[in-house]
Symmetry: C2
Subunit: 129 residues, 2 copies
Amino acid sequence: MADKQESKRGPEVKPRNWLVPVILLTLREWNSYGYELMERATAFGFEAMNPGTLYRTLRQMEKEGIVESTWETSKGGPARRMYTITDAGEAYLDFWAKALEQYQRNMDTFFKLYTGRSLRPEENDNKEE
Amino acid sequence: MADKQESKRGPEVKPRNWLVPVILLTLREWNSYGYELMERATAFGFEAMNPGTLYRTLRQMEKEGIVESTWETSKGGPARRMYTITDAGEAYLDFWAKALEQYQRNMDTFFKLYTGRSLRPEENDNKEE
DNA sequence: CGTGTCTATGTGTAGAATGCACATACGATG
DNA sequence: CATCGTATGTGCATTCTACACATAGACACG
């Protein structure tokens, strides 16, 4: 029963594009760059963020116009691509917040049904509405 | 800025595999079949479920051993593939519930930062660690 | 100088999830 | 028999993302 699939190790729950709002939220408070955002994301709920995904996401976000970047070479070490949130980005973040609220309500519904098993007075395995 | 991308119409928030726990939760209460589960899912928070995704998901779930199916031809109309949750399925649902709780906490963090902008005493757009 | 380490940014590729369009088939009704 | 509502499914393309690997600057150390 369920061997090669992921049913054993536990499900993947992260919503799609979850990285996007986390990045936007961070950039709304301070400008940042990939390497730092990785730690931030990790602290947030992603265990083991991998660089590839993060950097690609940032590039995509810039292509969409919700963030902008410039090279910063002043500090020691390799150059950093510093990111800034745009107006469109802030608006997009608001969209995300609304969508996440909706999603939170769905989760509430889920948990009500999950925890309170006997919300419906049916028998066991038949249903008539 | 952000034209061909989805930044305009709003983000896609549904978590991955969200259909799976919804189906399991429903089947825990009564046996059901694809067509009916589609309506259930729609009522739950998916607008415009498309049949393809749902039926494919059900097949996959059966392959993983978390549901089982038998043909039901007794009722009028086309035959229905009736699904039943297995023991592994119930266990898997519990996994999901735990994962969703964790995820709910992450969302709380997100909203705290989103709503309460001034949790951090930084200036506006620079940060040094 | 050469070698290694930490910081920092990327690419290549493959697999999974999912939306959209389309196909099939049964039963009832006119 | 044509058509509608129910019911299940496939093909194809896109998107997301995990994993592995590549590149490169700065700095320390012998």
